[in-house]
């Protein structure tokens, strides 16, 4: 039986530790025990780090005697295996980094604290490319709600860890929905902050113009607290925003009275299953009942979001993954001559989806195709941003499903890239526009969780979180540990 403390939110646990009712070491031991108990069924992690968690928790308990500990620092956390952790193996779910130990920590982790109580490095689709966590060289992660189904992706390990109580919260990364969609499929809260809100330094790059680190948590208050812990400008990431970090908890309970909420009509029709759509409709009715002004809004270019994303992201991948060449780190397959060494190392080190995206991106950027694909996609991106701008003139917060379906079966879509890509249909317009969005569990469809996606304008996370908090309160859903 899992320990009763595992039923608390991260915020509640942190308060108990701050009040000295529980020590950080006890919390770490409880998290480790839960990992031990459940990991064989779920496989949330590529690498578990129980000794490290205990060692760091001891340090926090020692430091606590002198005060100066931030509220969140004592909470055991799962870290997606794409974030660099000094001296702790970081694979990105890829064989090419099987034995890679980074030389420094990601800035987001350093912001979290001197010694984050990390329970393990969470499983993921290789280099964060995928929507099911099946593209990992380290086995499939199972959805804690139904072990024969996928947890979503690419942050599927982080989502499963939170749903199963392997730690109280997790960090994921989101390029085209990789925090939000697995959060939706595993019945937890996933936030993609505004592009640039959280430093990408030490986040191993997938698509640099889209990547963003985000909190994966049990509820919206935890999401606000974890964002508080990681946000901030970082001179080491030139794309990180030099914008003041507000207090994300201050107006959290302010409610939605008078808030203008627009439901995106294009994301409530074709391609969206009726179950998720009905759950979203019920939550929107709830928000209206709580005082929000609800209407419908159109994003005319949203249908071009998916094709534009599947040009821009692979194009950036083909460039970013060029660094895995057997020279400075990772796998090297010996060969006679440099070119052959590159080819063989990359042939053996990369999995199917990574290869597919490298090929797609190289093709789209190659001579003769550049204007028709990459340049055109960048212009579509401008149109999508204009659509959102027009929508935010009329509405404060926009709403859609997070994912067009509930969790699907392991193996169901893995041989059909286009079906897998369609999972991202509601998520990618947000990514292209760089705006923040959060997925909140809205209820169940066929016994499986459905995520409601809320979106708002750049750097308006306090309002977004307030709306999400209200959505969570009107939703027919309560977090309980699975399985």
């Amino acid at each position: 039986m899992p320990d009763a403390l595992l039923n608390l939110s991260a915020y509640e646990l942190a308060e108990k530790i701050e009040a000295r009712e529980v020590s950080a070491s006890e919390a770490a031991r409880i998290a480790n025990a839960r990992v031990e108990e459940i990991e064989g069924d779920v496989n949330s992690f590529v690498t578990t780090t129980p000794e490290l968690a205990l060692e760091r928790a001891d340090k926090i308990d020692a430091r606590m005697k002198n005060g100066g500990i931030k509220l969140w620092e004592s909470v055991p956390i799962a870290i997606k295996d794409v974030l660099s952790t000094k001296g702790v193996r970081t694979t990105c779910g890829s064989k090419i980094l099987e034995n890679f130990e980074p030389l420094y920590d990601a800035s987001a982790l350093l912001n979290y604290g001197e010694t984050p109580v990390m329970v393990g490095k969470a499983n993921m689709d290789e280099f964060a490319m995928g929507s099911s966590t099946e593209n990992s060289a380290y086995g499939v992660t199972c959805n804690p709600w139904a072990l024969d189904r996928v947890p979503g992706g690419s942050s599927g390990g982080s989502a499963a860890a939170v749903a199963a109580g392997e730690g109280w919260w997790a960090l994921g990364t989101d390029t085209g929905g990789s925090v939000r969609q697995p959060a939706a499929l595993c019945g937890i809260v996933g936030l993609k902050p505004t592009y640039g809100r959280v430093s990408r330094y030490g986040l191993i790059a997938f698509a640099s113009s889209l990547d963003q680190i985000g909190p994966m948590t049990r509820d919206v208050r935890d999401s606000a607290l974890l964002l508080q812990a990681i946000a901030g400008h970082d001179p080491r990431d030139s794309t990180s925003a030099n914008v003041e970090v507000p207090d994300y908890l201050a107006e959290l309970e302010g409610g939605v009275s008078g808030l203008r909420v627009g439901v995106i009509s294009e994301l409530m029709g074709e391609g969206i299953e009726s179950g998720p759509r009905e759950v979203v409709e019920r939550v929107v009715e709830g928000l209206e009942g709580a005082g929000a002004e609800v209407g419908e809004v159109s994003l005319p270019h949203s249908r071009y979001g998916l094709p534009a994303y599947y040009i821009i992201a692979p194009a950036e991948v083909s460039s970013n993954l060029a660094r895995f060449d057997g020279v400075r780190y990772g796998l090297r397959v010996p060969a006679d001559g440099l070119r052959e060494m590159y080819r063989k190392t990359r042939e053996e080190g990369f999995g199917d989806e990574a290869k597919r995206r490298i090929m797609l991106g190289t093709y789209a950027l190659s001579s003769g195709y550049y204007d028709a694909y990459y340049a055109q996609a960048q212009k579509v991106r401008t149109r999508i941003i204009e659509d959102f701008r027009a929508a935010f003139n009329r509405y404060d917060v926009l709403v859609s499903p997070t994912s067009p379906s509930v969790a699907f079966g392991v193996g169901e879509k893995i041989d059909d890239p286009l079906a897998m890509y369609a999972q991202d249909i509601c998520a990618v317009p947000v990514s292209l526009a760089g705006i923040p969005a959060i997925s909140v569990p809205g209820g169940l469809s066929n016994g499986l969780p459905v995520g409601v996606q809320l979106m708002s304008d750049h750097f308006t996370e306090p309002m977004l979180l307030r709306a999400a908090r209200a959505a969570e309160q009107v939703a027919d859903f309560e977090f309980t540990l699975k399985p």
């Binding site: 890679f100 030389l103 505004t194 640039g196 113009s209 001179p235 030139s238 794309t239 925003a241 071009y304 094709p307 534009a308 599947y310 040009i311 060029a322 057997g326 020279v327 400075r328 780190y329 990772g330 796998l331 090297r332 010996p334 060969a335 006679d336 001559g337 440099l338 070119r339 052959e340 590159y342 080819r343 990359r346 042939e347 990369f350 290869k355 597919r356 490298i358 090929m359 797609l360 190289t362 093709y363 190659s366 028709a372 694909y373 340049a375 055109q376 960048q378 212009k379 579509v380 991106r381 401008t382 149109r383 941003i385 890239p417 286009l418 890509y421 292209l432 760089g434 705006i435 750049h458």
Partner: protein, 93 residues
């Protein structure tokens, strides 16, 4: 469809080895993906400026000052092969 010859050419640009079976599979899959993304061509976007950064950031500058970085032996500690404080590679062809 994109031809197997084209697949091999693109793989060569990407320095990516592919088996014959992968080349065959990639030819069909990339063709299907490209067919589905071709729809962006139907938009007339002649005068629309491209977006490279959603926040319109340009020219982020910092003072050009020396700072402490990784010592060579540490930077080389993750390398598959190193000689005399340098990354070592096979013969360049």
């Amino acid at each position: 469809m994109i031809s197997e010859e084209e697949v091999r050419h693109v793989a060569d640009l990407a320095r990516l080895g592919l088996t014959d079976e992968e080349v065959r599979r990639m030819s069909g899959q990339l063709g299907a993906i490209l067919d589905s993304i071709d729809q962006i061509g139907e938009l007339d976007l002649t005068d629309v400026p491209p977006t490279t950064n959603a926040l319109n950031l340009t020219n982020v500058l910092r003072p050009d000052e020396p700072y402490k970085c990784l010592p060579p032996e540490e930077a080389l500690s993750t390398a598959p092969d190193a000689v005399d404080d340098l990354f070592a590679v096979p013969r360049i062809d």
